[in-house]
């Protein structure tokens, strides 16, 4: 059984893991997009991002609208920023929306997931690509690296970003994976209950491109659980084969303090437990004892399986010798 999973996942990783440099030929990509009659919308969710939003827009519009017409629409959906995010965004030619103005008859909620969800209603594309607005080393690869697998392969429905930095390591093998919340919370949870999903190197990355037919079929937690829930729900409905992932190299953004990670984890746990219960995974008691981490050798990724068996001793009172000795 374990062997099966290992080879299945390795197979999936080899087939569905890309590096953005494989898609450098934007001309070819745009031609195929036209031929397949696809439209693509870019959604940037924002909350107080005046420092970074302008640069993202300039670069995406220059490279992916003017030079190579890959995206048909760029929308900034804002949660009610106090700063000049919307003014800057409008100035640099984005369609700007206040999340609460979309579907105004629904009671407004606040959180990034809300904006992503409302984008499905507001934007026109067959594919929506979501990119966080707080990336300071923005580059067109953040978009074309994610939409390319959807353009080249019809069976792929959901493409997730991950960030790896081969150059930073001098050794042959480097640990590869997500941030702290991924490695401490999500990967152990997936190892236990959804081993297939451990093939996704960075389950929490905020950048992904998805087909509308999938987006309209899944629920959206409005807060920190949105990425986790997507993975579970898309996996449940469409299987692992619906996913692909692309290495976008380095992503620079502000680091969060541990306390913020605690809040994030709490949101993720709630989302997870809700789904795990609904799918009955807790009841399928036979728990996994393999933690599935990642390592990379040059440009090959492989899972690193670590057997962790938490054996237990009973309360001492149940031991006969103990009871004799202490006359209990």
């Amino acid at each position: 059984m374990t062997e099966d999973i290992v080879s299945k996942l390795q197979n999936w990783i080899d087939k569905n893991t890309y590096h953005h440099s494989e898609f450098w030929d934007l001309k070819k990509l745009v031609e195929l997009k036209k031929k397949n009659n696809l439209t693509i919308s870019l959604c940037l969710p924002t909350l107080n991002e005046e420092k970074t939003i302008g640069k993202e827009l300039i670069i995406f519009r220059s490279e992916l609208v003017e030079r190579y017409p890959l995206i048909d629409e760029i929308a900034v959906i804002d949660s009610g920023s106090d700063d000049n995010t919307l003014e800057v965004a409008k100035n640099f030619g984005a369609d700007t929306y206040l999340a609460s103005d979309i579907l105004p008859n629904l009671e407004p909620k606040r959180g990034k997931g809300e904006n992503l969800w409302k984008a499905i209603y507001q934007l026109k594309g067959d594919i929506i690509v979501y990119v966080d607005a707080d990336i300071s080393n923005i580059h067109p690869r953040f978009v074309y690296g994610l939409v390319a697998p959807l353009i080249y392969r019809e069976e792929v429905k959901y493409v997730k970003a991950f960030y790896d930095r081969p150059l930073a390591f001098s050794g042959n093998v480097r640990p590869s994976g997500g941030g702290r919340v991924t490695e401490i919370l999500v990967r152990p949870l997936f190892s236990l209950f959804f081993p297939d999903l451990t093939a996704i190197i960075q389950p929490l990355s905020g950048e992904y491109a998805v087909r509308r037919e999938v987006l309209e079929q899944i629920a959206f937690p409005i807060g920190y659980g949105v990425e986790t829930s997507h993975l579970i729900d898309v996996y449940h409905k469409f299987g692992l084969e619906a996913f692909a992932q692309t290495d976008l190299d380095k992503r620079v953004h502000e680091n969060k303090p541990t306390q913020a990670l605690g809040k994030m984890s709490f949101g993720i746990l709630q989302t997870f437990i809700k789904r795990a219960k609904a799918l009955g995974v807790f009841e399928k008691a036979e728990h996994e004892t393999l933690l599935r981490q990642f390592q990379a050798k040059r440009d090959q990724y492989e899972q690193n399986l670590i057997e962790i068996i938490e054996e237990e001793r009973p309360p001492m009172i149940e031991i006969e010798e103990y009871r004799k000795k202490f006359k209990k």
């Binding site: 640069k55 827009l57 519009r61 220059s62 580059h139």
Partner: protein, 386 residues
């Protein structure tokens, strides 16, 4: 008097038309600016620029043996060539955070004005000219030159000028700021460093007066006392000073970076000799090691104010409502002057060079600056400057 009416027709409305290229230009600016390029380590930036030339279909583009990036936009007749130059290096080291910040009206980041914007103009030009359906008669050679600043001493452009195969008739140097600058002559210049060192075998009984900083101070005082002529205009710039290591240890070394500038070559030479005498004198008096290293020189020269090229540029500026500010230059222009190529330096926009990461340029004036650049290219290409 030349008849500029056809040129003026081409210029009318150009500034507005250029607004369409805001994203293309600013994206190039940001992407170029975020690639560190300290003098001598410009490869990554040059590679990016070359990719852009390739994408624009400039089939003859290449990197020469000095590391310069060269793109060629072939003209209809290709009789001779106009050189457009922007230096690729910056004063910021590899470890400086090169993030560019984009606000509504301005862009901030290390080297954004000097010279990411000049380079952005250079690499965006083929795209813009093609989109505007402007076809030139002569070849336009685009040079992103390396090793220009400081100790680089214009090595890149000098190599290019000595080794290229083009028939370059005129040249324009592009700098990010300031819009309105018009440089067509070079002044005489001499750039160097004076380093004072307390010898290893120092006699510590000389308590107190033993410090490389004190020695350098003496050198500085003597330089400051030098008598410089009012005419021809001459000045000495005390540019930088580095030395010592902490509050409570005697400074073992101290270095002054300076530049002598003058309209007269002879005055520059004489000042150089005087400084050399000062260095020898202070050295023998104090017993410290005092060394003079002169690593860059420029001779004065250039085209006259009434030269057709200058006239052309002034006419273009006037049409676009740009107030020309005449100022000599000691940068790449002087390498061109040495080769007897009539040349100008133009600025693209308004901004502030702080030599720190908060260097800033204004976005709005860029269109005017670009219109001026394209206008001057059209003027040269149209034979208005002969």
């Amino acid at each position: 008097m030349k008849d500029y009416s056809e040129l003026n027709n081409q210029l009318s409305g150009l500034e507005d038309k250029l607004k369409k290229y805001r994203e293309v230009l600013l994206a190039n600016l940001v992407m170029i600016g975020e690639i560190p390029a300290p003098t001598g380590k410009e490869e990554n930036r040059i590679q990016f620029i070359l990719n852009r030339f390739d994408e624009a279909g400039l089939t003859d583009s290449s990197i020469d043996d000095a590391g310069n990036g060269i793109g060629v936009l072939s003209g209809k007749e290709s009789e001779h060539a106009l050189l457009l130059n922007a230096h690729a290096d910056t004063i910021f080291d590899m470890r400086t955070d090169h993030t560019m910040q984009v606000a509504s009206n301005e862009i901030m980041g290390p080297g954004v004005a000097d010279n990411a914007l000049g380079l952005a103009a250079l690499v965006s030009l083929p795209y813009i000219l093609e989109d505007l359906e402007i076809e030139l008669r002569n070849d336009l050679v685009l040079l992103a030159g390396v090793k220009s600043l400081g100790r680089g001493n214009l090595e890149g452009i000098r190599f290019f000028l000595e080794n290229n195969k083009f028939d370059i008739k005129n040249a324009i140097c592009v700098e990010g700021i300031q819009l309105g600058r018009l440089s067509y002559s070079s002044i005489g210049m001499l750039r160097g460093e004076i380093t004072c060192r307390v010898p290893e075998t120092y006699d510590w009984s000389r308590f107190g007066d033993a410090s490389a900083i004190l020695t350098l101070n003496e050198v500085i005082n003597k330089i400051n006392d030098m008598r410089l002529p009012k005419r021809p205009r001459t000045s000495i710039v005390m540019g930088s000073i580095v030395g010592g290591s902490s509050f409570n240890t005697i400074a073992r070394d101290a270095t002054l970076g300076f530049e002598v500038r003058s309209e007269s070559q002879e005055v520059v030479e004489r000042a150089g000799e005087t400084i050399n005498d000062i260095v020898l004198e202070v050295s023998s008096k104090t017993g410290d090691q005092v060394e003079l290293d002169i690593f860059a020189k420029r001779s004065p020269g250039g085209i006259p104010f009434a030269h057709p090229l200058t006239k052309c540029a002034r006419s273009v500026m006037e049409t676009l409502d740009i107030e020309p500010r005449l100022a000599p230059s000691i940068s790449e222009l002087s390498a061109l002057i040495n080769q007897n190529i009539p040349a100008l330096t133009l600025g693209i926009t308004v901004g502030e060079q702080t030599f720190k990461s908060n260097e800033t340029i204004q976005i709005e004036p860029i269109y005017k600056g670009l219109a001026q650049l394209i206008g001057t290219i059209l003027a040269v290409d149209g034979g208005y400057c002969e």
